[in-house]
């Protein structure tokens, strides 16, 4: 589904990703973990080109991403941000139908139908005419997930989707993500929720200092990490 070859990214002189290669299969759920500043967000953002890679190749569904086809590729890559980034001047429903209508040319009726389905799925149908600032953090994030899903993406990217939430709201968002994973969505999730990673992920990518240090099944990674660096990290967070 996604193939990443020798991905490097520098900000000025600061090399943040130092050659990352991996392959993500269809329906796979990947947890990306690692210490702060290790390049997790940058890794994720290179996949949909919110950051321009310095070098390396990324193919999505067999298509090599270039500057030319990036908009087309992004339609297939849903992204959910730590800070939700809902459009504050649009209602919940308008947030969901905007891109399908304006990017894909879906008719308004079709877009609304799909949006209402998704809102039911994330349990927010009755909020469809509210503005985002009337929602709690957890509700905002569920809307953001629904908004990304409204484009019918083949892959969903999550950048710490629960880090900006009050603890009591983390669960509702994780539950939505879990059922999404169970429905067979391909997902790449940057997260600090170790329990969630362990339970839901098929594979864990451990980044440290711009390197992909470990790439293993969660049982393996959490029970018997190979590297000292992963061990030290787990000692700190678990």
């Amino acid at each position: 589904m996604i193939k990443i070859e020798n991905l490097k990214k520098s900000f000025g002189k600061n090399e943040v990703l130092k050659g990352i290669s991996t392959e993500i299969k269809e329906k796979e759920v990947i947890a990306v973990i690692g210490p702060s500043g290790s390049g997790k967000s940058t890794f994720l953002r290179c996949i949909n080109r919110l950051e321009e890679p310095t070098s390396g190749k990324i193919t999505v569904g067999g298509t090599l991403i270039t500057d030319k086809n990036v908009l087309k590729v992004r339609e297939n890559l849903g992204m959910v941000f730590q800070n939700f980034n809902l459009f504050p001047h649009k209602t919940v429903l308008e947030n969901l139908i905007y891109a399908p209508m304006n990017v894909k040319g879906v008719s308004k009726n079709k877009a609304i139908e799909k949006a209402e389905d998704l809102l039911r799925q994330v349990g927010l149908f009755e909020k469809r005419n509210e503005y985002p600032n009337r929602l709690s953090g957890g509700q905002k994030q569920r809307v953001a997930i629904a908004r990304a899903l409204a484009m019918n993406p083949t892959v969903m990217l999550f950048d710490e989707p629960t880090s900006a939430l009050d603890p009591e709201m983390v669960k509702e968002v994780l539950n939505v993500m879990k059922s999404l994973a169970e429905s067979g969505m391909t997902m790449i999730i940057v997260t600090h929720e170790m329990g969630f990673a362990r339970e839901v992920a098929d594979r864990v990518l451990f980044l440290e200092g711009g390197y992909l240090v470990e790439d293993a099944a969660p049982e393996v990674f959490f029970n018997s990490p190979k590297s000292d660096r992963a061990r030290a990290f787990l000692d700190k967070v678990l």
Partner: protein
């Protein structure tokens, strides 16, 4: 000291200047707004030559006196163009070009104040740049832009008095003419001052109303 008796018959004549002043200010603002949006888009865009041009344009128009710009257009341009420009169009062009520079800065600041995450969210959804600007960024930027824009409009309304130097018959010019005719300058100038002041108060009030309505729609 005050003797309004000689000036009173001329008050309607001075008041007619309000129309002229408003015409200059309104048309200049429209030009300034269109120009300001274009320049602001150049400034925040990624095309280097356009960026440089917009920056250069702004620094020239902000860095030289408005009166000079006005006189260049009214008195000096005919030398290049080979035909005369009427005072009104000259005033509208000068003020329009000038306020374009100021308005572009207002718009640029308003756009920059919109959370970066909004652009990222739009990009991540595959929204093309022009639609992102039109539907996502500019509507949010308007909230930051509108109050400053109203200020610019009020400033322009007062500053427009300098069109008197090219003989456009605005409030200021008319007061001056009446002064010359009656040999009394104090009264007509006071009347002009009162008119400008009331206009400013009214515009300020309108601006506050608009701001309030926008805040309610939050």
């Amino acid at each position: 000291m005050f003797d309004f008796s000689k000036v009173i018959p001329s008050i309607p004549y001075i008041l007619e200047g309000i129309g002229i002043t408003l015409q200059i200010v309104i048309f200049a603002t429209i030009i300034g707004l269109v120009l300001g949006i274009l320049l602001a888009l150049c400034k925040i865009g990624s095309i280097k030559p356009l960026k440089w041009f917009a920056e250069f344009y702004t620094s020239i128009f902000r860095g030289t006196p408005l009166v000079l710009q006005l006189m260049l257009i009214y008195y000096a341009m005919p030398q290049i163009l080979g035909f005369n420009i009427e005072p009104m169009p000259a005033a509208i062009i000068a003020f329009g070009l000038n306020s374009g520079a100021y308005i572009s800065e207002i718009i640029r600041a308003g756009i920059n104040a919109v959370d970066k995450g909004q652009q990222e969210a739009a990009k991540a959804l595959g929204v093309p740049y022009s639609k992102m600007m039109k539907d996502i960024i500019l509507p949010q930027a308007m909230k930051n832009i509108l109050p400053s824009l109203m200020n610019e409009f009020i400033t322009l309304n007062k500053e427009s008095a300098i069109v008197t130097v090219i003989g456009a018959l605005d409030i200021m010019r008319r007061a001056y003419v009446v002064g010359g005719d009656t040999f009394r300058y104090l009264e007509p100038l006071l009347i002009a001052g009162i008119i400008y002041y009331i206009m400013t108060l009214v515009l300020t009030f309108l601006g506050k109303m608009i701001e309030k309505r926008m805040r309610r729609s939050d």
